[in-house]
């Protein structure tokens, strides 16, 4: 159980070169931000889900949004995809304001999401799912055949209905369906949800190839150690507010922990101190391997 705790320091193996200052972030090709969210406020009915969130994603980044359940991560991602209408604030993509743009228009413009819970088309076969993804695709390197190269098991089972597949397989199909649209920004919502750790590792192992093809990734992850391993930049949300932002290299484990649970925002929420020995197991309640392998 304890050997699943995140690697020492929770840092990715290769943090981006220096430049810790906000505003001078890692930029590929020196172009402007690809995705910019300004002061986003989103309500679900009476409930305020996001209270003024801003984020800037540069081309080539892997931007991770972390936070506990209900922090607003998925809402933020869905708002960027166009599925929620913000009460105020703006979303711009490649320098253009897309706040009022319908989700399908954003998808064809290059903002494609892998939704939480996969959301495959259950009455369609694997290949048909990919074909739907490719229906309104932009021009780019990703084709159905290339997805079959990325996930070689798919080719043999392309005629199968996805409803019969395992969670990990379905997640791969969902990723494939998004890739064939040739996104510029890929939004990944809780890839690891409900999957065994070994499957999560396998799915994240495909990320480098996705990045190599020039896709920028904005991901939501409840599994903090996983997020820290892959991210070049991260933001932690708590109850609709930003509690921490930076590169994984800049932030300490204690800072992440405090931001995740809101220790410095509302002291009353500080988890009771417990002996260091138990820390590694109890650090992220509900995220221990046994509970995640459902």
């Amino acid at each position: 159980m304890s050997n699943r705790s995140y690697p020492p320091g929770g840092r990715p193996p290769v943090p981006p070169e220096g430049l810790p200052d906000e505003g001078q972030r890692y930029q590929a090709g020196g172009s402007g931000p690809l995705l910019e969210v300004r002061d986003l406020v989103v309500h679900h009915g009476q409930l305020r889900a996001l209270s003024g969130i801003s984020l800037t994603v540069y081309p080539g980044e892997v931007y991770a949004l972390i936070g506990a359940n209900g922090a607003g991560k998925s809402t933020l991602l869905r708002t960027i995809a166009g599925l929620h209408h913000p009460t105020s604030g703006s979303v711009s993509y490649a320098g253009k304001d897309v706040t009022g743009l319908r989700p399908e228009k954003r998808a064809t413009a290059g903002i494609v999401m892998v939704p939480e819970g996969r959301r495959l088309f259950p009455s369609l076969t694997l290949e048909e799912n990919l074909k739907v993804g490719a229906s309104f695709a932009r021009k780019g390197p990703w084709t159905i055949d290339r997805v079959y190269e990325l996930f070689p098991w798919m080719k043999e089972r392309r005629g199968q209905k996805t409803a019969q597949m395992s969670g990990g397989e379905q997640q791969s199909v969902a990723i494939g369906r998004a890739l064939v649209a040739n996104p510029r920004v890929l939004l990944l919502d809780e890839l690891s949800l409900g999957l065994a750790p070994v499957i999560v590792q396998r799915i994240y192992a495909t990320l480098p190839e996705v990045l190599e093809s020039g896709i920028t990734v904005l991901l939501v992850e409840q599994d903090v150690s996983q997020a820290l391993r892959v991210a070049t930049h991260l933001q932690c949300l708590l109850e609709g507010h930003t509690t921490l932002e930076g590169t994984p290299a800049e932030v300490t484990r204690e800072q992440v922990e405090a931001a995740y649970f809101g220790a410095h925002v509302e002291p009353s929420h500080t988890p009771p101190p417990d002996p260091d020995g138990q820390r590694s197991n109890a650090l992220w309640p509900g995220l221990t391997p046994s509970s995640r392998a459902c």
Binding site: V112, P115, F121, S123, L124, S135, F136
Partner: protein
């Protein structure tokens, strides 16, 4: 032999019922819209056929493609405007809106075409032409033709849905609207296309009904809608071949009922309908259980 004849006639009538039903089934399967104006729209299609033939004097069979195209356009426009607006306001709204549409159409037809019934002149030779097998079984070419047409329409629909790009998108949108949007599909447009196809089949059904019997402003809800509902429920929601099976079961039940006692024709049909609802509510083909 009289029984065999009754069954054969019932099967052939079932083809017409399947034509009535497939548009209803498609609209429900894709958009979850229970279109209470379905039968009246078929009646409108029949009257459009009457009008086209009266004005242009084309043969009745030629009126079918014209009516299908007109109905398809009407379907797309109606879906993108009235139906889409009601879908966004909840399932109950679509019921009320289509019910209102049904009343408007019926009264409009009575206003313009009077309550008198009229037929679509097929040409006497085709209406009455038939062939006999043995001494008791007589099959009208018209009935057989409509049955074959129904099978062809269902086959075409099946092929379209399973093989074409838009067929795939229609199934995807029916599965998960939001996920389809995330793949770049404008579900409103896809709904419009599905409605256009459904209305096209409604057009065929209306003309066929006009050829077999006569049209009057109220047959839409009195017979077409009810038989379409019964066929869909008997066959199982969302399954095209189930719809054909449902139509045939309904047609055969009515024919057998009529054979026992002419008054029992509608009764027997609804008895089977109720029986299926009680014994196998998901329909004879069970795919409908998922919805």
């Amino acid at each position: 032999m009289a029984w065999v004849n009754a069954i054969i006639q019932g099967v052939l009538t079932g083809g017409l019922y399947a034509l009535f039903a497939c548009g209803l089934s498609l609209l429900f399967g894709v958009m979850k819209v229970v279109n209470l104006a379905h039968g009246d729209l078929a009646t409108v299609a029949g009257y459009i056929g009457v009008g086209i033939i009266a004005v242009t004097h084309v043969p009745v069979l030629w009126s079918i493609p014209i009516v299908v195209v007109l109905m398809a356009v009407l379907g797309y426009v109606l879906q993108r405007s009235l139906l889409q607006a009601s879908i966004s306001r909840g399932e109950l709204t679509t019921l009320i809106v289509t019910f209102g549409l049904s009343i408007i159409i019926e009264n409009g037809l009575q206003q313009f075409f009077t309550a008198n019934s009229r037929g679509l002149g097929v040409g006497d030779s085709f209406v009455t032409a038939s062939f006999s097998i043995g001494s008791q079984i007589t099959i009208a070419w018209l009935d057989l033709g409509i049955f074959v047409l129904a099978v062809v329409v269902l086959l075409g629909l099946q092929q379209f849905l399973s093989r074409s790009r838009y067929g795939r998108l229609i199934r995807a949108v029916a599965d998960d609207r939001e996920a389809a949007q995330m793949s770049g599909a404008d579900y409103r447009h896809v709904f419009g296309i599905a409605a256009a196809i459904a209305f096209g089949t409604v057009g065929i059904a209306g003309i066929c009904d006009g050829m077999i019997t006569t049209l009057s402003p109220t047959i839409g809800t009195d017979t077409i809608l009810l038989f379409a509902f019964a066929s869909v429920v008997i066959g199982g929601l969302g399954s095209l071949w189930g719809t054909l099976l449902g139509g045939i079961v309904l047609g055969v039940a009515q024919a057998i009922g009529a054979q026992i006692n002419p008054n029992w024709e509608p009764l027997a049909g609804y008895a089977v309908f109720l029986l299926v609802l009680v014994v196998r509510p998901q329909g004879l083909t069970s795919r409908g259980a998922q919805s």
